[in-house]
Symmetry: C2
Subunit: 358 residues, 2 copies
Amino acid sequence: MKSHMLRFLLAGVVALGLVMATATVRAAPKYQWKLAQTWPTNFPIFGDAVVKMADLVEKMSQGQMKIRIDSKNKHKAPFGVLDMVKGDQYQMGHSASYYWKGKDLNMLPFTTMPFGMTAPEQYAWFYYGGGMELMKKVYDKHSVYAFPGGNTGNQMGGWFQREIKGLDDLKGLKMRIPGFAGEVLSKLGVVVTNIPAGELYTSLDRGTIDALEWVGPSLDVNMGFHKIAPFYYTGWHEPATELLFIVNQKRFDALPEHLQAILTTAMEYAAYDMYARSYHESAVNWAAIKKDYPHIKIRTFPKEVMDQMKAENQKLLADKSATNPLFKEIMDSQAAYTGKVREWTRISDYTYLKGNLE
Amino acid sequence: MKSHMLRFLLAGVVALGLVMATATVRAAPKYQWKLAQTWPTNFPIFGDAVVKMADLVEKMSQGQMKIRIDSKNKHKAPFGVLDMVKGDQYQMGHSASYYWKGKDLNMLPFTTMPFGMTAPEQYAWFYYGGGMELMKKVYDKHSVYAFPGGNTGNQMGGWFQREIKGLDDLKGLKMRIPGFAGEVLSKLGVVVTNIPAGELYTSLDRGTIDALEWVGPSLDVNMGFHKIAPFYYTGWHEPATELLFIVNQKRFDALPEHLQAILTTAMEYAAYDMYARSYHESAVNWAAIKKDYPHIKIRTFPKEVMDQMKAENQKLLADKSATNPLFKEIMDSQAAYTGKVREWTRISDYTYLKGNLE
């Protein structure tokens, strides 16, 4: 072979090598994932947290990983998110752990618990107090990894047409309040109903129900309940509602390490960020309601009602713990942690706020 | 040329191309940065947040960006971090904004303010209430970008040898309390001194000072103050101390977009994470102090002392605002935001905690 031909071929080798090297970034394996969320399309705050997470993943990975978000309008299974992620129809999901308490009771305590921790207390428990390890134990059985998915902050106790002055006022009261809090209230004689979101306003307006619980000012204001119910009760049942990201374990394990780090950081960042956003929206919306609807009265349930709710809550949890060792382990962890962390809250934020608010 | 020779050469082209393609990842431009922190080597919590940030950046970028952390033991200029980052001796820094109030008063309000916002309130202000925009306005003049750098939570008012029962007990009291809180207390007759960390224990033990302020149980426990002072006062002066990351603007702007996203997310994530960590350490350490030193008494300053501190605080801020329009703009933003957000805190976490603690 002539030497010029060899030079020509070697030049070709180098040129092709460069082309391929340059192409590497673009030709690198793409991870095109799909996420199913429990929420409808364009749902504020909750949905925005998912969009923020997906945007961060795409930006930080230079487009190596992309996540398409399907709302319940598309997949039609708002409470089927866990099954769809487990079955790999979707690689990820965004929902709330307590929605699946019927499927696995041990999922209940990873959202929020009546008379449980506040958001700063609960984040400390999740990340430094053993919460993440317990959540992993529960979700490993379902072949998904679970991560905090955004906090709404303390949820309000609901909108009431009449004031609750004692236990008697709860007997026969028709209220929309889902989940475990509904179980507690039904022990106090409340007639607990579940009504789809789209029919809530009309139901409250026409007296089909006497009261309802939604979220708090951050999301309640769009529903318009303040226009038709004069009593807004402070919360007891969801002091720190944390949403949830779930990821199919095989899919996560197959990601290169840097994408695992990018995805995990993006989820946990978006969760914290949603807490800041919720706090902000609650503050702004509550100020707006107060200004435009000055007749609205903030009320806190009387002590005899609170004491009874606490007692029924404890009884229900003890019953469930008796036959479920893992549930008991989670309850014990939360109770022990709350005992410590609440004493810190007492001498820090609580005493501080008391000095500035009373 | 024989066809088998061509095949051989083409195979070589492909092989070389693959080698080069594989090498691309390693040959990509490296960003080797240096970060100067105000803290000593291995400083818990604060230093750990910096390490977490740097680890995340390295992992998420596949080593394309690495950040070396220099402590004050190395660079010898704990309060020179801003100047060193501005001058590009260091590309990044970790410190606290209020340390530079002597250089630029407008940096004071981005850490925490006496009688100011709690951590959840302040994060809402930073990210959704205009805080980040104001901080950018201040730090643009110094050619660095500024980001939240981790929250200690509510700081304790300090360790006291004697109980403070009224304003008279503050007259002539020798106390170590730095910064703006020291300015306020000196108006109440406190003899404010600054003493290096290493000499604090001995000074308090020997009566050179009567009281001192450090952080809270998360960091105080290592200093041993609980062994020599019986009164632990609740806080008023630093309700949500937020540390600070700063980045040289030219260096940040020169980063590719994905590294800008990775760096920003890693900093803001590490900040939130330090808040959860601080909350946890405070809870655990306070429980340990209470158990081992049951004689320690938690005290809150009496109302006449608090009222006087509030009044002097307002007066000082008004004086500074009168001659500094940007400072006034920041004060007005914080005051307006606190007015709204505190009303939300009142009907959410505060009322909730009251029902569970009183």
